[in-house]
Symmetry: C2
Subunit: 811 residues, 2 copies
């Protein structure tokens, strides 16, 4: 553990040295205000939309890395020496004899807050950054303490760089944007009010200030930093004097300076505030609320309570502490973050082009629906509004400006069914199906009709082989078989279609839509039948058909990509594959795709650009979709193995990509050891094991589904809570506490004979229940659920067939 | 002269200290390969298109400023101390006691090359950067000399950062682009070959190498620089060892290291090469051509010869050395650069969105047509291909991909006539009018018809007041009166239309297109008449009509912008204004818009955002179009004053924005003292005098027209070379040597009685000619032209009336 460890008691990840292999970040803010912050205080903030309402500027992929940020400089007025409260940007231990350990650095990423500590020349600082609940602002709460035995005179300087609101223009159109800034000081505040925000309409202003009297300020970057200087050595800090500069064109910043005298042992509190408001008056009123530091720390406690309550809805206790840290805290936390922002903004997504994804955001509901079903319901309605009358949908959309873009993705609309089913299973709110939501291009229709249109649209795209035409891409954005091509087909979309039709059919049956039920049941059966006939390659299922009619993802494919994870895992998840093919194809996944760091998406990777396969062939082998280990897709293998009853394999897959297991190899893995990344580099690359694109959409939700619903095996269903664990044989017991439809289920599972799967008995509040579905209680009370696992291998096999036939029974 | 001076003998601008207020840059390469380089070796390179074929990466508006670049590190192997051959990026004199003067820094920006010298710890270096004629590559020719008395052992490291070809993706889509790189070493070369270049088709590769045996290399940025390090302190240089890293994903770079031993006093030559090629074989063949440094320096001499020849086509000798430096060297050099690249790529235009402008590129022909008329002809045809059948045109276009965008600009198509007229006046090539060029959306038509369609299109946009509907904007891109509005009108476009109809009528008459001549003559007369009636505000002409029918640029305008330079200057340039109004409105320009740093575009600036006026009101007062001193528009006042015969005023305006006059106030002006910027901040801003956006299109060409054609007064006309100077009374004489239609005119002007304007006599090769038009000679020989100026004020006035009626006579 070179860089950090989990402090589960405080629900914090503690980073013990500042020079992490990449910036290890946190997302502050659960509502409209979002602040990304790294372990050395780099990052940026925005209000509602990272493109149109970017508040602070960030230089992505920068040299030096991770600049700028939310910086506080401390200057010893006696010596003129200066340093940072967050190591960056002064980097005091770099190029000096000072050991990094002596800086007493510590960063605690908590849930919605980040605390960074440091010590230099006898001065200790602790800066807590957070976004108070319900506010459009962030607070920087600084404690500065004199640990020496003599009085000290310090000067503090803050530094942040404003973005010129429209992040895309800000990073591309300099001849224009460098002439629109206006930043001025009034009292203890700096206001940044720039006239131009072309797409979003004119927004108000940003403000920054301190609760203590400031001694000076700077609003112009070049003045504060000085020619050919950087954040590492601002001329104002070097000289110990703010220049009181005004921003008129150029690069607006907020820097205030304060004189601080500290007696021996004395500690002082200083609060800094950064926010967005409509008017100066509004900003001034909000500012006053946080003049007293007690009010600030009270807000921090409120935030911690919010998260304690949030996580309290699902808590597991397993023999594996890594599992516990993730499933109880960090995986759920990442799920909430991706639910909030999907891939809209990160350290890799620059927040200007992606918006919220239709596919992404539907999936991201899976990781939060057990806690915030009302928000999920609202999100599903918002998503349904991004669907067209013909059933197709935007691929991405921008909630603030209510705009969107199609992209020719063959799978998009089906995800709405998955999210809707998850919401109804969680809540039992079958009436939701009748709620009316408008199409982009037409009148309102019921949620049920939105789903039906989605199915109809995808069915209308059936190809010559009976699969679904690929178009620009399916889930694999980079497998581009031909946007306008009528020959190329995806063999994965029919599996997904079948799976969602199963959900749709269940809902249709529950709501007595008999005509639809009969009609779509027959269609679904045909899809299943066709897939088994046409997609089997001999040892596994193919991935699709290229525009020349050749199989993609076949043992016979000449270019590479001979086996693809998706059709194997989904053939089982969907219930399409028969037992023999299911086992064989997952054995082949294990043989060809499994590595010590997880399951590669394809094997072998492509080595040359191939126009008929598209972007996947532009990546170096082992990277991204070209043989990378996709953390988003790995859970599908875990789920498939859990369905097959192979709990040791499922759990091995789960652990292979589990972030805590990466802390021992952080210099290889690079990204945060508490968060899933988009992918881990595959074995065909010299950088095998290196992760990229942390915090991205999808990975968190699906890993949570895999562990919580399929490995620990507790999942909401229409009629109750299914208990169906598939665990390592070595596990003797585990518990899950889960709120479901208002009641709390305290589930205790024992595994006396060390099986992978099989529920022998379930006792609820002392009474044994039939089968493995625990009933719904309307009493909002606590219920004890005692589960005993025990089946031999053959019985497990039958159990799986039962699962399979349970699902098939819907048809 | 704090930062530099002109060395006209060598045609170089010499920068004497590295810490210029902004990077002072140069453009290398006249053909397909372009390299922007600053005085400390920052900058970037591209091949043909800065968006689709960017070779090296640049971080615009960066902190630290001006990174990365073309860097050479030197490391003393005995001490471990290291520094840069170009001051940046190690910045050895920053944060140290070393005085900047002791670095012996010097940068010589020449024509197509840049030489940077430095000296540190007894080691002198001189690096010459240039793009050889006709090659798609740049050479870095290093001389390193041991000025001490003992042997020295050095290690050299180079550093450049590759762009992932598509510059827009490279700066926005990191989750994608950071997985496509491939950079490897083979022998003495590094190859960067990345599969993805989506818009341009797949391009080959970039290569970098040295003519000397390398001892190591790095292709991966993070490896070479090290965590939390920067270009200032790469870990490889600190440790004195390349890591031989490969780029596979991430950020590809080219760094090679070489061991250099130097005896006392010894000097060595080392060549580095960076280029673009289709294949490794092609790259290898080209590389071999430059193994011998003699071949390299021979290419440098060829380049110097090219420019000596280029500039030899126009040389003036005036009593003002600032004028001579500019008109003979730097203004013409900037004209050629803007002809090549307009505003496609600079340090402010990020090269991704603008492309080549239709308006820009037509104007930019004015500054080069006297030297490279054949290239101008080709450019005009390329421009005409960006016109639609209805006469409208793209606003910008991308030559490589042959794509473009309209923008709703009311003036665009007319600029084609200006360029065509300039070409025909220069060459006499009237047959060009009959050459056929395709429209974007239709069959080919003659150049003449392209011009006629342009006029017809603009005429079809006539508004209710008889001006032309403004649409998104006219020349003033930021005066947005309503793209879809039918009420808003530009009062400037009719002046421009009238001026270009005059040229069109002249060409029609020359080519006996009598019907057109009669038809358009009458229309033009109506435009002139209407303008004088409707646009006069009492003391000056208004700028237009807003969407509520109110005048813009009127004394009565409530929001600001009461007077606008454009309609005043162009009323005279076009010949629309009568004498009294012409004099009065230019007096008002002087009274309201003139400042010590030039003429503001409007006065007073707008202070609040105003949706009916658009982007102009988003700038801080004094910046850009909101009361800035536009270097592009100032020449129009010079030309108008020259036409009015007020040579002292015209020349005062010329000098007010002349770059050399800024070298004494470089800490206020900030941008290069040898190049025009887009604008200088107006007097209503605290940063009055600060220039922004240097090297942009338009300014150079129009300032050259003003000085060469209207102040020095030598201009090509259809029938010969007009001699019509309008100079300061204090000038006793000046000469102009100019090639015109193959013959060389050595023009010597004397001004014995100290007048502003008036040609008393012209003697050509000893024979006096009638009037002030020197005839065309077909003999390609040198001809002596002796001109005597002498007229009193009243005669000057008549002279102007003659000019005016000469122009009117066409009608």
């Amino acid at each position: 553990m070179k860089y950090g460890y989990f402090d589960d008691k405080h629900r914090e990840f503690v980073i013990t040295r500042p020079d992490t292999p990449t910036p290890w970040i946190n997302y502050l803010g659960c509502d409209e205000y979002c602040a990304l912050i790294s372990n050395t205080a780099g990052g940026y903030s925005f209000h509602r939309d990272p493109k149109d309402r970017r508040i602070t500027r960030y230089r992505y992929n920068n040299v030096p890395v991770d600049r700028p940020g939310r910086y506080i400089y401390l200057r010893d007025q006696a010596s003129g020496d200066y340093w940072s409260a967050t190591w960056q940007p002064v980097l005091k231990t770099q190029n000096s004899k000072l050991k990094i350990q002596s800086y007493n650095y510590e960063c605690r990423h908590g849930l919605g807050y980040t605390i960074i500590k440091s010590k230099y020349s006898g001065i200790s600082t602790q800066t807590t950054y957070f976004v108070p609940l319900g506010e459009n602002l962030e607070l920087w709460a600084l404690k500065v303490r004199n640990d020496t035995k003599k009085a000290r005179s310090l000067k503090l300087f803050t530094y942040l760089e404003f973005c010129l609101w429209h992040a895309e223009m800000d990073m591309t159109d300099f001849q224009y944007t460098l002439n629109i800034a206006s930043a001025v000081n009034e009292g203890n505040l700096i206001f940044h009010q720039t006239g131009y925000a072309p797409k979003s309409g004119r927004f108000g202003l940003a403000y920054f200030g301190s609760n203590k009297k400031i001694s000076g300020y700077d609003c112009d970057r070049e003045t504060f930093l000085g020619q050919y200087h950087s954040e590492s050595n601002p001329i104002a800090v070097e000289k110990g004097k703010s220049f009181n500069s005004v921003g008129s064109g150029g690069n607006p910043i907020a820097s205030v300076s304060l004189n601080i005298s500290l007696k021996a042992g004395e500690e002082k509190d200083i609060i800094f505030i950064l926010g967005a408001a409509e008017t100066k008056e509004e900003a001034g009123d909000i500012y006053k609320k946080y003049l007293d530091e007690k009010a600030v720390y009270k807000k921090l406690e409120d935030l911690k309570c919010y998260w304690a309550d949030y996580l309290g809805r699902y808590q597991a206790n397993t023999p594996d502490t890594d599992v516990n840290s993730m499933v109880n805290i960090w995986n759920q936390y990442q799920c909430r973050t991706t639910f909030n922002w999907a891939r809209f903004a990160s350290y890799y997504e620059s927040g200007i082009g992606r918006g919220m994804g239709f596919r992404d955001s539907n999936q991201d509901t899976l990781g939060v629906v057990h806690v915030i079903p009302d928000r999920v319901k609202a999100r599903i309605k918002e998503l349904a509004q991004n669907q067209f009358r013909n059933g197709s949908s935007y691929h991405k959309f921008f909630p603030l400006t209510k705009t969107g873009e199609k992209g020719g993705y063959s799978d998009d609309p089906l995800w709405l069914i998955m999210a809707t089913a998850a919401y109804i299973k969680e809540t039992g709110d079958m009436a939701f199906l009748d709620e009316k939501v408008k199409f982009i291009d037409g009148e309102a229709a019921s949620v049920y009709d939105h789903m039906k249109k989605a199915i109809d649209f995808v069915l209308s795209e059936k190809g010559a082989q009976g699969f679904i035409k690929m178009r620009f891409a399916d889930w694999n954005d980079c497998l581009n078989l031909g946007a306008d091509n009528e020959v190329a087909e995806s063999a994965w979309v029919p599996l997904f279609l079948y799976m969602e039709m199963r959900e749709f059919l269940t809902m249709a049956r529950f709501t007595d839509r008999t005509e639809d039920y009969e009609k779509y049941k027959e269609i679904a059966a045909g899809i299943k039948d066709n897939f088994n006939k046409k997609a089997w390659d001999g040892k596994w299922f193919i991935r699709g058909i290229d525009k020349y009619g050749e199989a993609v993802g076949s043992a016979k494919s000449k270019e590479g990509g001979n086996i693809d994870l998706l059709p194997q895992a989904w053939s089982i998840m969907s219930g399409v594959a028969g037992t023999d093919k299911a086992t064989m194809c997952m054995d082949m996944v294990k043989k060809h795709l499994d590595t010590k760091y997880g399951i590669m998406l394809i094997d072998p990777p492509y080595t040359e650009y191939d126009e008929k396969l598209g972007a996947v062939t532009t990546f170096a082998p082992g990277l991204k979709e070209n043989g990378g280990i996709f953390c988003h897709a790995n859970p599908w293998a875990m789920i498939a193995e859990a369905i097959l009853g192979r709990g040791d394999i499922a759990f091995k897959y789960y652990k292979a990509i589990l972030p805590p297991t990466k802390n021992k190899m952080a210099d290889i893995h690079l990204t945060e050891g508490y968060i899933y990344s988009q992918f881990i580099t595959g074995k065909h690359n010299a950088n095998f094991g290196r992760a990229r694109n942390s915090w991205l959409t999808g990975s968190a939700a699906w890993n949570f589904v895999a562990i919580a619903e399929y490995i620990l095996g507790v999942r909401a269903d229409y009629n109750g809570l299914v208990i169906d664990p598939c665990i390592p044989k070595s596990w003797k017991s585990f518990t899950v506490k889960r709120v479901f439809r208002g009641a709390t289920y305290e589930i205790s599972v024992t595994n006396p004979r060390g099986v992978n799967k099989g529920v022998k008995s379930i006792v609820v509040d002392g009474l044994e229940v039939e089968g493995n579905v625990v009933p719904v209680f309307k009493d909002k009370r606590v219920h004890k659920v005692e589960v005993v696992m025990d089946l031999n291998r053959k019985e497990q096999q039958q159990q799986w067939q039962t699962y399979h036939s349970y699902q098939s029974s819907i048809l």
